[in-house]
Structure formats: C-alpha cells, structure tokens
C-alpha cells in the first residue's frame, strides 16, 4: 500500500518538475515549483524523514518559492522557454 | 678520486662577483667607485681561482657541498673543481678582468645608458659562468646554465631598441627553449636512469647503465642540442642574432662565458655522464661528430659571406665551438685534450678579435668588413692584435691556436677518422679565407676616397686598446708557455 502511495507521489513529482520547468510564465512556474516542494515534502514525511519534510516544507516550498517570486517580480515574468 | 679536498674556495670564487652586485647598486651614482668594485670583484675572483690552481695541479679535486637541502632529489648544490673546470675558470676569470677594463672604456666611449644595470648583470653572468665551471653535479650545472641564460638577456638587449628586442627574443627562445625542451628532460631521464645520481665525482654517471643505442643517442643529442649555447647547428642562429649586444658583451658572450659554457657542458656530459667507454661502446659519438663537422664547414662558409664584422666573427665562433665538440666526440685521448685546450685558446683569440671589432666601432663607428680599408695604418695596435687573434683562431703559429688544433688533428688521426681529419684541415683553410682578407684590407688597401675626414681616426681609448693588446699577448704566450694548460688537460685525460 505504502509503496503504491510512494509510486503515485513519485510520478506526480516528475510531472510537477517537468511542468514547472516548461511553463513559460515564470510566476506560474514558481508556484508549480512550490507544489513540487510540497509533494516531495509529503513523500519524505511518508518515508519517515519528518525533520527533512519539515525543513523542506519551510524552505523548499516556502522560502524558496517566495524568493523565486520576489526575483521574478523584480525582473521579468516571461521566459523564452 | 682519492684526492678530494673539501674547500669553500670554489664557492667564494663563484660568489665573488655576486657580492659585487649590491655594491655596484649602491655606488650607481659614483661611476668611478662602481667600476672599481667591478675590477675588485674580478681580481678577487681571479685570485680565488689562482689559489686553487696549485692544489688542482697536484691532482687534487676540491669539493664543497653548498646546499644539501635538495634531499628530495638527493642532489645537493655541489661544487667541484677539477682540471677541466680549472681551465675554464682560469680563462673566464682572467678574461673578465680584461673585459671589465674594456667595458669601462667602451661604455664610456659611447656614453651608453644604464651602465649600472650593465655591470650588475655582467657580474651575475660571471658568477653563473664560474658556477658552471665548478658545478659538482648535473643539476648544479643546469641551474647555473639557466641562470646564465637569464642574466645575459638584459645584456644582449641592452640597447632596448627594436633590433635588440628581436635579437633578445631569438636569444632567449633558443636558449631557454632548448634547455627546457631538451636538456631538462635529458637531465631527468639521466636522473631516473642512474637511480638518482647526478654527481660528477667518480665514474661516469651512466657508465654502468644498460642504455641502448637509440635511447643513448637521443639522450646525447638531447644534451648536445639542449645546451644550445654550444651553438651546434641547427640551434646556432641565436649567436649571430645576439650580436646586437654591445661589444664587450659580445666579447664575453661569444668568446668566453656563454658559448664556452655550452661546450663545457657538452664536454662534461660526454665525459662525466656517458663516459668515454659507454659512448665508444654504443658508437653514438660518431653522430655527434658528424653534426659537429657539418657545423664547422657550413658555418665557415657562411662566415665567408658576411660583411658585418661581428656577424662574421659570430659565425666563426659557431664553427670553432663545433671544433671543440668534435674533438670531444672523437673520444680519443689527444682529441679530448685538444678540445679542452681549445676552450682556452679560442677564448683568447676570439675575445681579441671582438675587442678589436669593438675598438674599431668606438674609434670610427665602422661595422662592416668592406669599410675597413686602410684602417690598419691609423689603428696599428688594434689591427696587429686582430692579426694575432686571427692567427690564433685559424690555428697558425705563433699562437696558442696552433697547439690545440694540432692536438685535435692528432686526435682525429688517432681515432682513425680520416674524413674528420680532413674537415679540420679544410676548415682551417676556410678560417684563413675569412680572416685574412680583413687584415689585408686594413693594412694594404688604401683608404677609400671619401675618407678624407678619416684623418681624425685614431686608436680607441686606452681602456679599449689595453685589454685587446693584453689578450693578444696572452694568445701568443699560450703558444710558448702552454705548460699549465697541458698539465691540466693531462689531469683530465689521464688521471694516473
């Protein structure tokens, strides 16, 4: 059961990563990156790495995304790829 | 060698001129003091060398390990004085005094710039030269060899003009290029092959090794071309190029310090690295012989075509250096002795010639052979000396050149190399062919028409003339009193 849960999240992860990297609107891209962060944090929590999950939730999904957004708002929102 | 003596004298002799450097720098404003220091150092150096002479003549070998810190390679910076080194040191240090004197006159006469720098690097060069002469192992030899290359660069490019720049560039690229490209790997290969021994003491370094024909040949050629100060073709062209230097430099470079360091290194390599036995066994010496012979003939032919006096002398030097290498490469007893002697004989002869060329330039600003017509009568001393120098370099009596050439020819005969013997003879004729027209012109041709103002031409200043007279006399004296030289060469060739 757990393994299949794993597999689902893992596949979602790949999907999220690919989308985040391919959306041309950087702001959406950053948001999807945030989603990616939460997914991976979920995965780690499930794997027993609660501390890592916690950190990833605060850092990867939280602060990183905010930093991305701050930068994107200060630069340009569109990307050529 | 059983007769080794530990003595700091070689180090002192070597460092005497280096010690003068700070003094020269301090007195850069007081011209007289500066020159005095230069002389003092020269005399001190000569004195040190002379004090060692009796010991060496007794068959002793002086040794001194200066820095044993190179323990990683197990090769110290060591000094060692034997007969060959002694010959070279005697020649170099005695001629330095003459050259210094001459340089003072020359530089003053032409009001050259940056004289302090000139004397500083002059002193460093001499330090390096004696370092090579007294080097106790291959590494020390290499070290001083490189030091000499670098220290002479500012001298060669002294004029700091475009010509000097190209000349300097050629000079360094040849010397450094070959020494790094050929000599250094050869040295390291020797080091590896001999198991970490580079010392000149005792038997030849590679005598016991199982060197094959091709590795041996490459190693030998690596050394011979690597020490390209010896001017073997095809690595000779730095020498004419370096003629842009002021004449005292040319004199020192091309008669004494630089080129002789080159051949000295080659002799050292042949006798101390390979050893006569090994070379003879492998037969690779013949290759070297033929390259040298080729150089001798070719350079003599080129010299014939040169109009610039200094260039002609330079090509002459190229040929004469190869005499020495040829002699060593013949491996026969008398040929080796002959080449050792030739170091001294040629040095005296050639330095006289260069001094003369410089004196002519100082006196009347002439550089070309074709301009020398009739000058002999106005500058009798100079041209007399020139004649003597020419005789000596050609190998005619009553000059020392005859002796060394005689030994060389004898050696060739001894080795059974008739073809090479012919080379000696042919080249002697060629030598005569490019020198004597000059003497003839100077003395017997009338001065050209336009030389009416030539009446003003007189002998160069005393500081110029005195040294060249001295060296010319030295050349003659070496013919009549070659005893010490012979003794020293005997020490090397036949220690028993």
């Amino acid at each position: 059961m757990i393994l299949s849960f794993d597999i689902i999240i893992l596949i979602f992860l790949i999907v999220a990563a690919v989308i985040a990297l391919n959306v041309k609107d950087l702001l959406s891209s950053a948001m999807i990156y945030g989603i990616y962060g939460f997914l991976i944090c979920l995965l780690w929590a499930e794997m027993g790495a609660v501390d890592v999950a916690f950190t990833e939730a605060t850092v990867g999904a939280g602060v990183s995304t905010v930093l991305f957004i701050a930068t994107i708002l200060n630069t340009r929102r569109r990307s050529s790829d | 060698m059983e007769n080794t003596v530990t003595s700091i004298l070689p180090v002192l002799a070597c460092l005497a001129s280096l010690a003068a450097v700070p003094l020269i720098l301090i007195f850069r404003k007081e011209i007289f003091l500066r020159e005095l220091v230069t002389f003092g150092a020269g005399i001190a150096k000569f004195a040190f060398v002379l004090t060692m002479l009796p010991l060496v003549l007794e068959g002793k070998v002086l040794e001194y390990t200066f820095i044993s810190g190179f323990a990683g390679i197990n090769v110290p910076i060591a000094f060692r004085v034997d007969g060959l080194g002694m010959i070279f040191a005697l020649v170099a240090s005695s001629l330095w005094i003459a050259t210094s004197l001459y340089a003072v006159g020359y530089m003053r006469g032409l009001k050259e710039h940056a004289q302090t720098r000139f004397f500083v690097f002059f002193a460093i060069s001499l330090c390096a030269t004696l370092g090579v002469a007294f080097a106790g192992n291959l590494l020390t030899l290499y070290l001083f060899y490189e030091m000499l290359s670098l220290a002479t660069w500012p001298l060669v490019t002294h004029h700091q003009d475009k010509e000097a720049r190209t000349g300097g560039r050629t000079y360094l690229s040849y010397l450094l290029g070959t020494s790094i490209g050929f000599a250094l790997p050869a040295l390291i290969f020797t080091f590896v092959k001999s198991g970490g021994d580079l010392s000149f003491a005792g038997a030849a370094i590679l005598a016991e090794s199982d060197l094959g024909y091709w590795p041996g040949l490459f190693l030998l050629l690596g050394f011979a071309f690597g020490f390209s100060k010896a001017g073997m073709m095809p690595f000779h062209s730095w020498l004419p190029g370096a003629m842009v230097a002021p004449t005292p430099v040319s004199a020192l470079l091309h008669a004494v310090a630089v080129v002789k360091v080159g051949v000295f290194c080659v002799i050292r390599v042949v006798t101390e690295v390979f050893g006569v036995d090994l070379l003879g066994r492998l037969g690779i010496n013949l290759v070297l012989c033929w390259i040298a012979a080729f150089t001798v003939i070719t350079s003599s032919l080129i010299a014939l075509t040169q109009d610039n006096l200094k260039r002609r002398l330079a090509f002459s030097t190229v040929g004469q250096l190869s005499y020495i290498i040829l002699g060593v490469a013949l491996l026969s007893e008398h040929a080796v002795a002959g080449s050792m002697m030739h170091i001294a004989m040629h040095a005296f002869g050639k330095i006289t010639l260069f001094f003369c060329a410089g004196a002519i330039f100082v006196a009347c600003g002439k550089k070309y052979v074709s301009q020398l017509d009739g000058l002999g009568r106005r500058m009798p001393v100079t041209f007399a000396a020139f004649a003597i120098g020419a005789l000596s370099v050609t190998g005619l009596p009553p000059t020392g050149g005859l002796l060394s050439k005689f030994y060389l020819v004898w050696g060739a005969a001894e080795a059974g190399q008739i073809a090479l013997l012919c080379v000696f003879l042919v080249s002697t004729i060629l030598n005569g062919a490019y020198f004597f027209p000059i003497v003839y012109r100077a003395f017997f041709k009338p001065a050209p028409e336009g030389e009416s103002e030539g009446a003003g031409i007189r002998e160069a200043p005393l500081a110029c003339v005195l040294p060249l007279a001295l060296t010319a006399i030295g050349s003659v004296l070496l013919f009549f009193f070659p005893g010490i030289l012979l003794q020293l060469t005997d020490l090397m060739v036949d220690p028993k």
């Binding site: 501390d51 999950a53 930093l67 | -």
Partner: protein
C-alpha cells in the same frame, strides 16, 4: 554545439553512470543494508549506534536532533555559516546605499492587489497569523528534542513571519520590526552563540563542542543533561542566524538591495 544537444549528452552519460551504480543497491527499505546496519561482517554502522546509544548519552529522544546538534554539531555549525555566508554574499551583491540609484528600485510598481482588499484580507490575515507563526516557531525551536524540528526550521519560520509582514504590508513595516542593524547583529550573534558553546569546553580543557563538560557551568546533573541543554542553546543560535538571514535575503531580493518599498 547547441546547449540542448550538449545537455542531452551530459544527461545521458550521467544517467547511465548513476543507474550503473544503482544496479548494485540494496533493496529499497532493507533494514539490513550497509547504511542502516553496517557492512556485512564489519562493525555496525553509526546509525545503529545512534539509535541504540545516543539517548543514554544525550537524553534527547529525537535522534535527528541529537545527531545534528551534538554528534555532527560541527557540520551544523558550518551549515549555519553557509547561511551567513550566503547572506553576506547577497548583501555584497545587492545592497546599495547610494542615493542616486533611482533605477535600482525600479518604477513604482502598481500593486497587483487593490489597496483596500490588500489591507482587509491579506493584512488582517497576516496580523492574526504572525503571532501564531512566531510562537509556533519558538515552540519548534524549543521542542526540537522531542519532536521534529529544531533551530533551523524554527529560524526559517521566524524569518518567514517577518517575510509575511513584508508581503502583506510593505517592506518598511517589516524593517520597522526587524531593522537591518538588528538582523546583521543577530546573524553574527547566532553563530557566536553556537561557536561559544564549542569554545567554552575548549577553555575547560576538552575538545571543541564537547558539551558534556558544560555541566559545571549549566549546573545540570550529569553530562547528559548538559548535552541536552547545550543542544537547545545551539539550536537557538542556529535559529537566530537563520531567521535573520532568511528575512534579510528576502528584504534585499524584494527591494533590489535598496531596502525600500517592496514587492
């Protein structure tokens, strides 16, 4: 070569190398794998030591905390230094105090959210949330021994609470609470606290970061509790630095180094 082709080649090669390594991995989740219990026939791995022994030595049930803050406390100290270094690097890159640089701040950006809306919905939510976030962050720092979390997570959350203020209102509000002076000082102070817990044992003659010896100073019963309390102290240091730098990074990034205006 276009970057795409180059990238593909690099990726394929790296991937093959990595998968080659994976071919030999123990099964996922195997408790007997070398990482989890040591090489076969060798000594048990360190992780077993931590699970079996560390509580007795440190009295901290959260193994991650005890390993992080004590056994590998040296790592953690440098992790904090990395944060500090990143902060300093960002200041060095962005921070500009020159007045004439009008272009740096950019043209006044029109807020994407209308003023009233912003004030009522976002501002109010933020005002309600920030104290809770902060107290939770402090709880996380203080309870790292028993539950997941610790100095780093708590520090990030504290920093995030200030970021929240900056996001909801503007940067000046946040900087009013947590000025540049104070965050620079706290950033350094955090590591000084951390390293101080390391240096004091040195003064007492033990090795760096040997918390056990601190019982003399902390007046605890036995070195175990000294370790436990020192870990808390160390976590507080981490939290201070991380909080300061996280907020500082945001402040500088969002204002392009001018520390004025905001997003």
């Amino acid at each position: 070569m276009s970057p795409k082709i180059f990238a593909s080649i690099a990726v394929v090669i790296t991937g093959i190398v990595l998968l080659y390594g994976i071919s030999d991995f123990p099964t996922f989740g195997d408790p007997r794998s070398p990482a989890n219990s040591g090489v076969e026939g060798g000594a048990p791995s360190t992780s077993l030591y931590y699970i079996n022994e560390s509580y007795g030595v440190t009295k901290v049930p959260n193994l991650v905390t005890s390993v992080l803050a004590d056994y590998r406390g040296y790592d953690t100290m440098f992790e904090t230094v990395v944060v500090l270094a990143a902060g300093m690097a960002i200041f060095a890159i962005l921070r500009s105090t020159t007045k004439d640089d009008e272009t740096v701040a950019g043209p006044a950006r029109k807020s994407s959210i209308d003023g009233d809306h912003n004030r009522i919905i976002v501002g109010m939510t933020c005002r309600l949330a920030v104290p809770v976030v902060q107290i939770f962050a402090l709880y996380v720092v203080a309870h790292g021994h028993y539950s997941p979390g610790g100095g780093f997570q708590g520090g990030v959350m504290l920093g995030a609470s200030f970021i929240l203020i900056a996001l909801a209102g503007n940067l000046d509000d946040a900087l009013g609470r947590f000025s540049e002076k104070s965050y620079m000082a706290l950033a350094s102070l955090g590591i000084i606290i951390y390293a101080g817990f390391g240096v004091v044992p040195q003064v007492l003659g033990k090795n760096f970061l040997d918390f056990g010896v601190l019982q003399k100073i902390l007046l605890t019963d036995g070195p175990e509790m000294a370790r436990s309390h020192s870990m808390l102290g160390v976590e507080i240091g981490v939290a201070l630095t991380v909080m300061s730098i996280m907020f500082a990074i945001f402040a500088n990034l969002s204002s392009r180094g001018t520390l004025k205006g905001g997003l």
